[in-house]
């Protein structure tokens, strides 16, 4: 009988889950995909991801998607298509840019009037394929030989900024002043109102991302603060960093044994959004490798030296001028290595005259509870 006394005052209007934004960071590193070409060529992977995107869009009417390519020389949006900067008045040849890519800008794929395809799917697919083809066309040999890895840090920050922007747009009371206000204070108050649930999915193929340790860690902490889970599907290579990313943000980490089954992995492991994950047991990385990379050589280290001011990590004690490379404060690590830590001999406690309670430890010669092992 409780339900008719009207204690439930808020009228539940929409029982459905909140709209969810899926941001896919696709690692398009050509070197790594070349290695994978025998089991899972990039074209197949892309086709699988497109089906996955369609499945995500079909899962909720207000669901949206963004795709970011993390390429070898730049990170860029594949969807939504980046709007070209508004045409500026031409300053002659001041920037030395000649419009050479005029005809090349023509879309390679166009939204055909295909009666076999749901229209919203077709538009997104076409945009992604066009932008991807453009990205591949722009890549030349100089870019490829410059680096064997990918700009995952930049792509991740693009993803986070996009999520932030969409969240503000989606927030129920999104007047202009409010948007500015919520930009100013990014605290819990704003996230309460958020109706958009976002997540990031990184499709990663490159190993060894330690050279981007700092930007990556910063993005991870930003994601953690914004409560954006980072899901990782690791098709090849292995990095400590990405495992930490999914662990710190509560995302899913998966390293498929058979990359050719990508679609099934995506559909089962990565499609459920935050709402559905509450009722499901999601796979996660078993043992997470929490090792950090040093700031000087970007190497993953087991034991390092830490600046006492800014907590930067260094792999070896020889710093130039004994100054911390990050904050510039004086940091003489050499002395730390040379001299074994000094142990100050423990002062004898004053014996209490009154009462013989201390009889169990005669003379107080027993070392105090915490027994720090000393080097002899």
């Amino acid at each position: 009988m409780n339900d008719i006394d009207g204690t439930v005052r808020t009228v539940v209007k929409d029982e459905g889950p909140p709209p969810s934004l899926l941001t896919i960071v696709l690692d398009t590193n050509p070197h790594a995909w070349a290695h994978l070409s025998s089991t899972l060529p990039l074209s197949t992977a892309l086709a699988n991801i497109l089906v996955f995107i369609n499945a995500h869009l079909a899962s909720g009417n207000a669901n949206c998607v963004a795709v970011i390519a993390s390429h070898s020389h730049k990170a860029c949006f594949l969807y939504p298509s980046p709007t070209p900067p508004s045409p500026q008045p031409h300053h002659g040849a001041s920037n030395g840019e000649v419009e050479m890519n005029g005809p090349a800008d023509r879309p390679i794929y166009s939204v055909s009037d295909n009666p076999n395809k749901y229209r919203p799917f077709a538009t997104i697919e076409t945009a992604i394929l066009n932008n991807f083809a453009k990205l591949i066309d722009e890549t030349d040999e100089a870019h490829l030989s410059a680096t064997p890895t990918t700009l995952i840090g930049g792509a991740l920050s693009l993803a986070l900024s996009f999520i932030n922007k969409s969240t503000i747009h989606h927030s129920p009371t999104s007047t202009h002043a409010d948007a500015l206000l919520s930009l100013a204070d990014a605290d819990g108050k704003h996230s309460e109102r958020t109706t958009l649930t976002s997540r990031i999915l990184i499709v990663s193929v490159s190993g060894d991302l330690a050279n981007q340790y700092i930007p990556m860690m910063n993005s991870i902490f930003a994601a953690q603060r914004k409560r954006v889970p980072i899901d990782i599907i690791k098709l090849a290579g292995d990095t400590v960093l990405l495992q930490q990313a999914s662990d710190a943000t509560g995302g899913v980490y998966m390293k498929p044994e058979r990359p050719e089954g990508l679609l099934q992995y995506l559909m089962m492991g990565f499609l459920p959004d935050a709402f559905a994950r509450k009722t499901l047991i999601m796979p996660s990385a078993g043992g997470v490798d929490f090792r950090a990379a040093c700031f000087c050589h970007r190497k993953v280290v087991d034991i390092g030296y830490v600046c006492s001011v800014c907590l930067s990590i260094f792999c070896e004690p020889t710093l130039p001028d004994n100054l911390c490379m990050t904050c510039g404060s004086y940091l003489s690590l050499r002395s730390a290595q040379m001299n074994p830590p000094a142990l100050i001999p423990r002062k004898k406690k004053k014996k209490r005259r009154a009462g013989g309670t201390d009889s169990a430890t005669p003379g107080g010669s027993t070392p105090a509870g915490s027994s720090t092992p000393m080097h002899g």
Binding site: E15, S59, P115, A122, P172, T173, M267, T279
Partner: protein, 478 residues
């Protein structure tokens, strides 16, 4: 799943398996059912199984869900089973496993991949149209047609005279009567209880209600139910402002076009035109976004005169009602339809060119309750249309007002009835408790009396299945 599509789901659920199988041949239908009808967890299960080469073992499914979420899982599986989307199979070693009905899986894959040659997402007309109509025109057209229908229902009841309803077609009128939305008595038309709840729903739900009524009567008119449903789901996946060719439509669907034109769901320039345009009412059939409230350009509609129905519409986009804690109500509207709807449960006192004001009184609410409007309907109507200033507070409406509306309603009804079944005479305490727990899990339990081992449920099918399975288990054991 929104409230509007849940009634469509109810209708779909009671269709026989043959109809389901036939429906699932169309990828657009499958996609629409998947997008709009299934609850979130059912979608997740379907997607997990879609590209799975082997059936999903029941043990694996159990392991995938958290132990505390069994209720959600059972609900999801129940709906999937009822719509005949999943098939339970048993392999040689008596391990039960779940798999998708092959026709459904095939169509859903085709819809996601865009493969096949089913042409079910509408064939755009390639012929250049000399007098192509704009989106704004389509919106206005849909709005006019739809509001005429609503006004026809409400207008005569609240006493706007007998002149209303002249723009509404004869077929629509008889459909409204057949669906028991309105009733003729002594040559005067009166709105019924279902009619009231119809008017107070949001547009999307209204469209579905009317279309479901249409479906029920389709077979009498010699139309095939599958054809009608397929066409409706296809309409939901079309694009606004694009003209589509009628060449690929079946005769039934061509016949439907005429009726749908009368509702304002599609637009045709003439009765013999070879193309048709879906309006906003159609393309939002399978989405949650409000059908008519998304009118984009307020200036465009503000200038329209007409019968005074449209001019107030621009305010709807943001909401127009203000309710104060002293039960006074102000509505910034000049639309006759909205005034008529408000006057169903408000004591309106003054009318200004762009504003009506009145008061929610005990008399006005109990009058509404007597004619069959529930307090929840009133509250949800008010909060759905409340002014943007009021939307800044949560809940939108003052709590004193919502509570008082409920209390006024309760004055008249102290007893709640619910139809269902009484289960009693359980042989053992354990069996009783098992069945009760199952009933609670699937959400059909209304009342229970542990001492006498009796309980009351409002749905029997699941319990029957459960009891049958239990009996089989016992037989195998014994």
């Amino acid at each position: 799943m929104s409230a509007s599509s849940s009634q469509a789901l109810e209708y779909l659920e009671q269709l026989p398996v043959q109809t389901h199988r036939k429906l699932y041949e169309q990828p657009s239908t499958v996609l629409a059912i998947f997008r709009c009808m299934l609850p979130q967890m059912a979608k997740t299960i379907v997607m997990a199984m879609l590209y799975m080469p082997t059936p999903f073992p029941a043990g694996g499914l159990d392991a995938w869900f958290r132990p505390e979420a069994t209720k959600v899982k059972k609900e999801a599986l129940y709906i999937l089973e009822k719509l005949h989307i999943t098939v339970l199979t048993q392999d040689a070693s008596r391990q039960s496993a779940c798999s998708l009905y092959s026709g459904f899986a095939k169509s859903l894959r085709q819809a996601l991949e865009g493969s096949g040659s089913h042409r079910s997402f509408g064939v755009p007309s390639n012929k250049p149209e000399p007098n192509k109509v704009s989106i704004q025109f389509l919106d206005e057209y849909a709005q006019r047609q739809w509001e005429n229908i609503l006004f026809y229902m409400v207008g005569s009841t609240v006493g706007f005279g007998s002149s209303v309803g002249q723009e509404v077609g004869k077929g629509t009128k008889s459909l409204l009567e057949a669906g028991d939305f309105v009733r003729m008595s002594h040559g005067k038309m009166n709105i019924t209880r279902t009619g009231f709840s119809f008017v107070l729903q949001d547009t999307n739900a209204q469209v579905w209600s009317l279309l479901i009524e249409y479906l029920r009567h389709a077979s009498q008119l010699g139309m095939s139910e599958t054809d009608v449903l397929n066409f409706l789901f296809m309409l939901g996946s079309l694009e606004l402002g694009q003209d589509y060719s009628t060449d690929t439509l079946s005769p039934t669907q061509k016949q439907m076009l005429e009726d749908l034109t009368a509702f304002g769901i599609v637009y045709r320039s003439s009765k013999t035109s070879s193309t048709f345009y879906p309006t906003r009412l159609a393309v939002t059939l399978t989405s949650d976004s409000g059908a008519l409230s998304t009118t984009t350009d307020p200036l465009a509609t503000g200038g329209a005169s007409g019968p005074g129905l449209r001019s107030g519409r621009d305010a709807t986009a943001t909401g127009f009602i203000i309710v104060e804690t002293n039960y006074r109500l102000y509505a910034y509207t000049s639309s006759l339809l909205q005034i008529a709807v408000l006057s169903l449960f408000t004591h309106l006192t003054t009318r200004f060119p762009n504003l009506v004001s009145g008061k929610l009184t005990r008399a006005s609410i109990s009058r509404a309750v007597r004619t069959g409007i529930s307090s929840d309907q009133i509250i949800s109507y008010l909060s759905a249309h409340c002014h943007s200033q009021m939307q800044k507070t949560t809940p939108f409406l003052p709590e004193t007002v919502t509570d008082q509306i409920r209390l006024w309603e309760m004055e008249g009804e102290r007893v709640v009835t619910s139809n269902g079944y009484l289960m009693k005479e359980f042989p053992s305490e354990k069996e009783y408790r098992d069945v009760v727990r199952y009933a609670e899990d699937v959400g059909v339990l209304v009342w229970k009396d542990d001492a006498n081992r009796r309980f009351f449920i409002n749905g029997i099918e699941q319990i029957q299945g459960f009891l049958k399975r239990e009996a089989e288990k016992r037989k195998q054991r014994g």
